[in-house]
Symmetry: C2
Subunit: 457 residues, 2 copies
């Protein structure tokens, strides 16, 4: 009995049209990464388990795909261990490798491992798939690509400036108008928590604040109260609930509010540097905005925090995010290596471009021309032309079988191949080609030079 | 205690320079695939285990990396099953997914699963990593890329013609001179076995013949004798041991030899078609040769068999291979779907290009120019120029920190960045840039237009 084919849940096959569109996005991201001086690295799909485990919290550990040891993986396991039926403990006995969960930890591992060969500051980009055993749902997959650009080895805020520009460059080239690059700073969040006397509740405070968008002012206030933040403290952050105006205005307000916190003022100063530079340099199609509620993996970031929202016309979550982390590589034994980076969310960007109809019509995986096959001699004549066309960069094909012409035209039609060339006896004698434009139905008899010219357009 | 970072054996990190070279090869392969009308697909990194298991023989099954089920993977396993300590049996209980072992089986699965959406004949290419739990050794890895182009749904021999041309186009564009594209046909091997009366020993016969290169004539004779092939039969294939001359000559000899086998003659006829067409169309830098000893996974192929040997100056195994298989998708329930395809061996091609010094000097991952950082104002002035340069496609960077100039120059030097721009007070007043060519040491004061012009060269 033949197997009914299928793929694991949360994974995807990509058809030619989808691959072409994905490659279009990758191409623009990669092109900009490189023009901005980022250099590509690639790391293995699986790492030693100890490299990954414990880096993403308990939930993360659970979501890491583990690879079973090859051969007799039970050899070193005692009966007692087997019968304990403790999955966590047994996993460490029968699995030594795990699939990459993100690109940041492998990058940190790479930097430490190759530190003697790397010239710092090191600007690297990495575009590779990652795997998470998450419950699949709309827009969430178990295998997906991450596109990351990070710099390590410098605390210069010019990097942050450049990352804002990089977001703008990529999204502008993709034709997205009105993307909002939101920026915040961990030091500002710490500062606020400090001045309202809730320094010990920083996480609770920011997690609640981060939800302002979703649960509104009252919701945030309630959550903060539930978490034990005092009414007085909550009153102090009242201004943040209606935080509007230009970045300059917001920074002025924050400066007043944070006058009692050195750390908070440092954050304001950092944001000033970044935002002033962006104001002086200008952005193409994006908007930079200061969002004090932005927290994103707070435990991780120590300085700037970024998140990119798609144009308002599209109802979708962020299409990118990132920030600065002062101790990227400490966990692997290399201290004082500050890093800052951003990530692009390929799948969401794809959906946004699709929804707004922004994929150029030229982005497809099909051929420009199909030569009809009228038999061996005609096919050989056609092949000579096809060879030359391919050499000049035209995607060209011969229909492989000498079947009814109607069927061959239908093939071109279904494949959305725009041109068909017919070669019969007369064309061979005249050294010509009959070229048919399938969209207009126009047909003309041309020599090779003309054929090439039209198809290269 | 910090972990000492490392990666699993048989896997690799790729540095920026290596990624750039690999991308160069991928780019040429991909470009040619597309000009030849092949369309890209991508399949998930892991498949359901039943899709892969049993498709590569017992050894293959062993070498497939299995993924441990997430969550409580022991839940459904009985104590008895645990204590049996039977790895094979237990694997099927605790693992349902496995990493892709090659691209052919996932492709077959894809074709069957999406058969209603595919317009046949379907020319697809796929460039993705595969994983094998093989013992790592020089040039053999546990994670490596395969680059495959296959056509399914047509038996036309024009496909074989085109695949020879495709090999020639790729290797010629890579600058490889004198690659030998070896061709054979399974039907010829069957025919020979038939006429010498060893039809039941086809596999033993071809496995021995395939070793002619390595163990010589006497070795092959001995192996055949050991396998029970009669002295008389071995005498009959004597001519194959000194099989030389043009393809036409070889085909004539084969035709005589195989006059008693319909299948053998069919093979000769097929090779005639392919080789005649190639003779008429010509190849660029490659040589086509008929190699009757070529067997390559004989169980698999049913018609043409291909293998590509690097130029003779390089001592290395094949850099590509492929063939026709008449029943690609039968195992998944779709009968009569003939396929023919070829594969490029990225890692070996990389080594060959490296050995012959064929990577163009422009293939690197570094920037064209580094702007020295003399402080905030100078950096802002530099950034304005950098923005414009990047827009016109120049890879440009600002050194992020205002440190000693010597250190910044050293950075450019180590990164092999060819140009450095210096911007101080005077340059800012004059709206100029001091451009230094690090290779020649030449330095000149230029306006932006000139700067852009030089850097775009």
């Amino acid at each position: 009995m033949a197997q009914k084919p299928g793929i694991p849940k949360g994974t995807r096959d990509f058809s030619p049209g989808e691959v072409a569109k994905r490659q279009y996005i990758f191409g623009i991201i990669k092109g900009n990464f490189e023009r901005f001086g980022y250099q590509p690295i690639e790391t293995p799909s699986f790492e030693n388990s100890e490299t990954l485990m414990g880096k993403y919290g308990e939930e993360g550990d659970r979501l890491i795909f583990k690879i079973l040891n090859s051969g007799d993986f039970l050899e070193k396991v005692s009966e007692e261990e087997l019968l304990s039926k403790n999955p966590k403990q047994l996993t460490s006995k029968i699995s030594e490798k795990a699939l990459r969960y993100d690109l940041t930890v492998p990058f940190a591992r790479y930097v430490v491992q190759h530190q003697n060969d790397i010239e710092f500051p090191f600007k690297r980009y990495q575009i590779q798939p990652v795997w998470r055993a998450d419950r699949p749902q709309k827009g969430r997959f178990r295998e997906f690509f991450q596109c990351d650009a990070d710099v390590v080895g410098s605390k210069s805020l010019w990097q942050e400036v450049e990352l804002v520009q990089l977001y703008d460059a990529v999204f502008s080239e993709l034709g997205l108008d009105g993307v909002t690059i939101k920026i915040n700073n961990r030091k500002i969040l710490s500062g606020i928590a400090e001045v309202i006397g809730a320094k010990d509740k920083l996480i609770d405070f920011t997690v609640a604040l981060d939800k302002l968008d979703k649960i509104g002012e009252d919701g945030v206030r309630k959550e903060m109260t539930d978490k034990g933040i005092s009414a007085e403290a909550i009153k102090k952050i009242q201004p943040l609930f209606q935080f509007s105006g230009s970045i300059q205005k917001k920074l002025e307000k924050l400066e007043q509010m944070l006058s009692g916190s050195d750390e908070g003022l440092k954050g304001v100063q950092e944001l000033h540097f970044i935002c002033d530079k962006i104001a002086a340099l200008g952005l193409d199609k994006s908007i930079l905005d200061l969002d004090v509620t932005l927290a994103r993996g707070l435990n991780y970031y120590t300085g700037a925090i970024f998140e990119v929202a798609p144009p308002k016309a599209v109802l979708m979550g962020s299409v990118g995010g990132g920030g600065r982390y002062d101790d990227l590589t400490g966990i692997f034994g290399l201290k004082n290596m500050s890093g800052v980076g951003i990530s692009f969310g390929l799948d969401r960007i794809y959906l946004v471009l699709e929804e707004l109809g922004l994929f150029p019509a030229t982005v497809n995986a099909t051929s420009k021309v199909l030569f009809v096959n009228y038999g061996e001699n005609e096919a050989l004549y056609a092949m000579k032309a096809i060879m030359k066309l391919r050499k000049s960069g035209v995607k060209a094909e011969l229909y492989p079988d000498n079947v009814k012409v109607g069927k061959q035209f239908q093939h071109a039609d279904k494949r959305e191949i725009p041109f068909v060339v017919i070669v019969g006896d007369q064309e061979m004698i005249d050294e010509k080609f009959t070229l048919k434009n399938l969209a207009t139905g126009d047909q003309e008899l041309v020599d090779f030079g003309k054929l090439e010219q039209i198809l290269k357009e």
